[in-house]
Subunit: 642 residues, 2 copies
C-alpha cells in the first residue's frame, strides 16, 4: 500500500486542513519535569507491565490459538480483548518513534507477526467471532465490538507508519486488508449499520490520511451519519448509550456512554474536517461547549453514571459516585485536540491540559503498574490495596489495581503518554503555538524557515515558563502562548540581546508575540500559580456549599492520611475566613473539625453537627497523587464551615 506523499510527522492526528498543523514527537521533545517523568515510567514500567498481563491473561495468546485453529475452546478474555493488543501496539509504536529502542522494536515485530498470522484471507481478524462455535461475523453489532477492535488496529497501524514509514513488519497491510473488508461489508451496498462502540470512525479517517484512500474516509462518514437513527437494537439504558438516539448532526450535548460519545465525536471531527462539512463541525463545537459547561467534573472527568458508564443529565456531577472513567478522559483529549487543531480556540487545549493533569495522570500509580479505571472525587472509606497478582472488577477498586477484567485503561494511558509530545505545539503558515508547557525542545519549519525553541520550566510546580530561540529566526514569526482560563493577569516579557524589550499583562486565550528572534532571545511567561478557591455553579447540587482548591492546572484534594489525630475528611469544614497559604508549593488550608450528632434518624429539626473549638491547618495534595501513601479517604470538594 502506497503512502501519501506528505507525511505529517509523528502525530496521532493529521487533519487535511484546519487552523493549526500538529507537530509530532519528531519535532517536539519533552525532556524534563512532570510529563517527562511519566513518560519515562510509562516506557520503563507500564509497557512491560501491560505485556506481562496480556500474555498472562491469554489475550495475546488468543491470536496464537486463532492461528493454530484451536479457537474457541481456549479463548480467554472479554469480547473486545483484541483491542487491548492494538492499543498496546499503538503505544509501542509511539515509544519506538521517540526512543528508537531496539528491544521494543523486536517485541513490536513479534507481536505484529502473531496478530498478522491470525488474519483470515479476506482480511477479517477477530479472536472472538466468526469461527464455528463462535458468534457469526457482524451478528451482534450492539455488543460484539468487532469494528471497535478494528478501529484500534487502524490507529496502531497509523502510529507505526507515521513513526517508521519504511518499516516492513506488515501492520499497515493487516490494517488495510481489514479496512477494505469493512468498506465492502458496511459500504453503501453493505450492512446499513454501525458498531455499538465507536472508534472505527477515527481509525478509518486516519488510515485514509496515511494511505490516501478516499473509500476509508467515505466509510467513516457513513458510520458517522448512520448513527442516531435507532439503527442498533434498543437496550434497557436507552439508545443514547450508543449515541444512537439522535443524529450527531442535530445533537446539542454529549450523551450516553462517555468513552463512546467522545470517540464518536473525535471521528466526526475527522470526517467534518476532511469533507469540509461546516455544519457538522458547528454541531460538534456546540456539543463540546455544552458538555464542558454542564457535564464535566472539575478534573475534566466525564461520565457520572456507574450503571452505564455514561454522562448524567446536565449538572448531575456527584463527587462520591463520579465514574469519570480514565478512558473517557483519554477520549475527551482526542475530541478536544481535534477541535483545537481545526478551530484554534485556546479553550480546547485548556480542557486537554485539565484532563491530562487530573484524569490521565491520576489513573496510573507513581510506579506505572497500577491504575484507576474510574476516578472518584470523593472516597468515603479507605479500602484495601488490590492484590498485585489479581484481576480486579473493572471499576470498583478504591485503590489502583494492576489489571482489570475490562482493562482498557492501562494501554489507553500508555498510548497517550507515549504520544504526549504531539500535544504540546502546533504551527501555521505564520508561526508557532504553544498549547502545553513542559521543559523541552521544538524544531520545525514555518513558511520555509527553520524555527527552533527551547522551553525551560518547572511547570506546574512553578508558573515560570522561559521560551528561548537557540538560533536566530530572521523573518518575523508569530509565537502564540496559551494562557489558561484560570491564569488571569499573567505576565509576558520579551528579552532580546539581554534587555527586556516588551512587558505586558496578558489574559486567558492566546498571548501573541510577533517578531524576528536573535539567537538567545527569550519570551518569559509568568502564570499566576497561587492556590485558588473555586466555587461550583449553583446547579451542581451535589457540591452545594463546597469549594475546591486548584493551583495552576492541578486540582487538589484532602486525604485522611493528612488528618491523623484530627479526624476524617467527613468531619472537617473549610474555614472561609482563613487564607490558603503555600509551603513548598503545597497549599495549606485551615479547617474546623465538626462533631456530628449520631442520631437514630438523620433528618431533624435542626442541623445536626457541633463545630469544635479549634481550627487546624492541613495540607492538600494534588488529586493525581491521591492514595499514593496507602489507603485513605479523600475529597476534592471541601464543605465550607457555616
Amino acid at each position: 500500500m502506497k503512502l501519501t506523499d506528505h507525511q505529517p510527522g509523528f502525530v496521532p492526528v493529521a487533519p487535511s486542513s484546519g487552523r493549526f498543523r500538529p507537530l509530532g514527537s519528531d519535532d517536539v521533545h519533552i525532556t524534563g519535569g512532570f510529563w517527562a517523568e511519566r513518560q519515562r515510567i510509562n516506557a520503563r514500567n507500564t509497557l512491560p507491565h501491560i505485556n506481562h498481563w496480556l500474555e498472562r491473561e491469554g489475550w495475546l495468546p488468543n491470536f496464537d490459538l486463532a492461528t493454530e485453529g484451536s479457537l474457541p475452546a481456549g479463548r480467554r478474555g472479554r469480547e473486545f480483548s483484541d483491542s487491548e493488543i492494538y492499543k498496546y501496539l499503538e503505544a509501542l509504536a509511539w515509544e519506538i518513534g521517540r526512543s528508537d529502542d531496539q528491544e521494543l522494536e523486536a517485541l513490536f515485530r513479534s507481536i505484529v507477526a502473531r496478530v498478522a498470522a491470525a488474519q483470515e484471507p479476506d482480511g477479517y481478524l477477530n479472536t472472538y467471532t466468526g469461527r464455528p462455535g463462535q458468534p457469526a461475523r457482524w451478528s451482534d453489532l450492539e455488543w460484539g465490538h468487532e469494528l471497535y477492535c478494528f478501529g484500534h488496529l487502524f490507529q496502531a497501524a497509523v502510529a507505526r507508519v507515521r513513526t517508521r514509514p519504511e518499516a516492513d513488519e506488515g501492520l499497515l497491510a493487516v490494517a488495510t486488508r481489514a479496512a477494505d473488508l469493512v468498506c465492502e461489508a458496511f459500504g453503501a451496498d453493505g450492512l446499513q449499520s454501525v458498531c455499538g462502540h465507536p472508534v472505527v470512525e477515527t481509525g478509518l479517517a486516519e488510515l485514509a490520511r496515511v494511505v490516501g484512500e478516499p473509500r476509508y474516509l467515505e466509510q467513516a462518514r457513513l458510520f458517522v451519519e448512520r448513527r442516531g437513527q435507532g439503527t442498533l437494537k434498543p437496550i434497557e439504558w436507552g439508545q443514547q448509550y450508543f449515541q444512537d438516539d439522535v443524529p450527531i448532526r442535530t445533537a446539542t450535548v454529549s450523551r450516553g456512554h462517555a468513552v463512546r460519545a467522545n470517540y464518536l465525536a473525535a471521528g466526526a471531527v475527522d470526517v467534518a474536517v476532511d469533507t469540509g462539512d461546516d455544519e457538522l463541525m458547528a454541531a460538534l463545537e456546540t456539543q463540546w461547549r455544552n458538555t464542558v459547561a454542564r457535564r464535566t467534573y472539575i478534573t475534566g472527568g466525564q461520565g457520572s453514571h456507574h450503571q452505564d458508564e455514561a454522562f448524567g443529565e446536565d449538572w448531575v456531577l456527584p463527587p462520591d459516585r463520579a465514574y469519570s472513567e480514565t478512558c473517557a478522559g483519554v477520549a475527551s483529549v482526542m475530541f478536544s485536540w481535534r477541535l483545537a487543531l481545526a478551530r484554534g480556540d485556546a479553550r480546547y487545549s485548556d480542557l486537554v491540559e485539565r484532563t491530562l493533569f487530573n484524569v490521565v495522570a491520576t489513573s496510573p500509580s507513581k510506579t506505572g503498574t497500577a491504575f484507576y479505571y474510574a476516578n472518584t472525587l470523593h472516597q468515603r472509606t479507605p479500602g484495601a490495596p488490590a492484590a498485585d497478582d489479581a484481576v480486579s472488577p473493572r471499576a470498583e477498586s478504591s485503590l489502583r489495581a494492576p489489571w482489570f477484567e475490562v482493562s482498557c485503561c492501562p494501554p489507553n494511558v500508555a498510548r497517550t503518554l507515549a504520544s504526549l509530545d504531539a500535544f504540546v505545539a502546533t504551527a501555521d503558515e505564520d508561526g508557532l503555538q504553544l498549547h502545553q508547557y513542559a521543559a523541552g525542545t521544538i524544531r520545525t519549519q514555518v513558511a520555509g524557515q527553520v524555527v527552533a525553541f527551547d522551553v525551560d520550566t518547572d511547570y506546574p510546580r512553578s508558573g515560570s515558563i522561559r521560551v528561548t530561540a537557540p538560533v536566530a529566526i530572521d523573518e518575523p514569526i508569530t509565537l502564540s502562548l496559551r494562557i489558561p482560563q484560570w491564569a488571569v493577569d499573567a505576565e509576558l516579557r520579551v528579552h532580546s540581546a539581554g534587555e527586556v524589550v516588551t512587558s505586558e499583562v496578558v489574559q486567558p486565550g492566546w498571548a501573541v508575540v510577533r517578531r524576528a528572534f536573535l539567537a538567545g532571545d527569550r519570551v518569559e511567561l509568568d502564570l499566576p500559580i497561587e492556590p485558588r478557591v473555586v466555587h461550583p455553579d449553583g446547579r451542581i447540587d451535589a457540591v452545594r456549599g463546597c469549594v475546591a482548591v486548584e493551583r495552576g492546572p492541578e486540582v487538589f484534594c484532602l486525604e485522611s492520611v493528612d488528618l491523623v489525630g484530627v479526624g476524617d475528611v467527613a468531619n472537617v469544614r473549610l474555614d472561609p475566613a482563613a487564607p490558603i497559604v503555600t509551603k513548598d508549593g503545597v497549599p495549606i488550608v485551615r479547617v474546623l473539625v465538626v462533631r456530628p450528632d449520631d442520631a437514630d434518624w438523620p433528618y431533624a429539626a435542626r442541623p445536626g453537627e457541633q463545630p469544635a473549638a479549634d481550627a487546624v491547618e492541613v495540607p492538600l495534595v494534588p488529586y493525581h497523587d491521591w492514595a499514593e501513601r496507602g489507603p485513605s479517604t479523600m475529597r476534592v470538594w471541601l464543605p465550607l464551615a457555616t
Copy 2:
C-alpha cells in the same frame, strides 16, 4: 396437608412468639380516608390491570405452555416472571379475604389450576428451567431465581390458607410439594447453597407456621446461615450484591441489592423468632438501626445505586440518582414489621408508616394503572409520559409506566395494599396497640375479653384521631398509641361519659392508656400536623445546604407545574426567614428566584448565581402525588437561600 390448630387470622406474618400478636384483615377494617381509597383503587383497577398484562406479556400463559409440553419455544418474560403470578395470587387472596368477591374467587381458582397443572410430579415448578433446551434445575443459583419464585409461591399459599382455610383449590398442596422438594434438594445432605435472590427464607418460615412442618423452618434456617460465606460465584459488583459477603449474624448494616437485603433480613427475623435465636435477632436489630440512621432516604426509600439496585455506603443518598426501588420499600416494610412484632419498639412502625406513605403510595398512579419502579427525589427534566400500551425499561421512566420488562412493583404494591389492614394494630396479653392511623374498626379478644374500637380520623390530612369503644370493656386493658418520632408534644385526652377525664402531653414512642371502657368512651389523640422544616445530617453530602418540608407522615416536594411564570425547581431557593404557612392543608413556602450565570466553565472564583429581587410564594405537594399533573420537574430537598 393438615393445618396447625390455632390459625392467626388474615395476617401475612404470624410469629410463634414475640412482643405483639398481629391482628389480621379479619379483625381490622380500614373503612375510609387515605388508605381505604388506595385499597379501593387497588381492587378495582390495579388487580385487573395486572391480570391484563400478565396475560398479554405471556407470563401467565407460560404455565399453559409448560402443561402442553411446548416449552421452551414459546416462553416469554424474564427468568423470574413466574414470581409475578405468585405475588398476584397473594394479592388476590388478601383481597378475597377482605371482600369475599366471588368473581375474584373464580379468577383465583382458574389461575391456581393453570399453575398447578404445570407442576412436575416431584414438585418442581418453574417455566424457565428444567426442560430440554432450558437451563438445568438449580444450575444457576446466582441468577436463576428458582427458589425466589418458590418463596413467593409459598407466601401466596400462606395468604390463601390464612384467609380461606377450607378452600379446596389446591394452592397449598402445590406449595408444600414444592417445599418438600426444596428441603430434599437443599437440606443438610443436599446442595450446600442458596438462591441469588432471597425470599424463600420467609416463605418457608411462614409455610412452616401454617402447616406446622418443622422441616420448612429448618430449611429456612439453613438458607439464612449459609449465606455470607462466599457460597455464590463472585460477580463484578461484589458478593455483597447477594448478601453473600458477610454472615448475617455478624453483619452490622444492610448492603448490596436493597430488595434482596430486606427480604433476607425479614426471613432471618422469622428464623430468629421461631428458633429463639437471640443473638441473630440482636444482629438484625443492629443492622436495621444502622441502615435507618445512615442509608435511608427521608422518604424511607432504600438503595441509592442504579448500577446494582443496591445500598450505597453510609451517607451516600443522592436525591437525583436515588434508586429507592418500590420493591425495596415493600421489603423494608416486611423487615420493619417483623421487628415491630418481635420487639415492640415504636420506631419500627415509624419506618413502616414513613415508607408506606412516601414509597409504597408513591409508586402507583391515582388510577392504580401506572407505577414507578424507582422513586427519585429530584427530577431534573420533565420527561414524557410512557405509552399506555408499551412495556418500559425497568427503572428509567420519569413518569409512571403501566408495565416494565421487570415488573415486580405492580404485584408487590398490590399485595401490600390488599393486606394493609394487618399492619394497623396488634394485641398482647394486656391490651391493644395502634401502629397506624386510619379510619376503621378493630375487633379482637384480649385476655378472653372481646375488645372493640372504632377509629375516626382524616389522618394524615388532620392530626386528630378519635378512638371510641363502641361496647364496654369491663376489665382494664392497655390501649397503646404510637406517637411518631416527629410528633413532639402530642396531646392525649380520655373522654368518659361525656367528660374529659385525663389530658396529657405525650412524646414519641408509645402513649399508654390503661383503663376499663364504658360504651362510647373515647381516646383522643392530637398529633401536631403543622409543616416542619427538616435538615439533613451534615454527612449526607448530596443535600448540603438544603432542607425538606414534611407534614405529619408525608414528605412534600416542589414541582415545576407550580412554578409556571416563576422558573424551574433548579433556580429557586427557599427563603429561610419566611415561615411556612398552610392553606387547606397545603404548605406554602416563600422562594427566591436566582439567575445562574451561564458560563463556559461551571467552576469559578465566585459563586455564580444572582438572586432576583422578588420572593414568590409557591405551594408544595405531597411527594406521593408528584407527577400526577403531567410532566414536571421536582425536588424534595430545597436549597436554602444564602
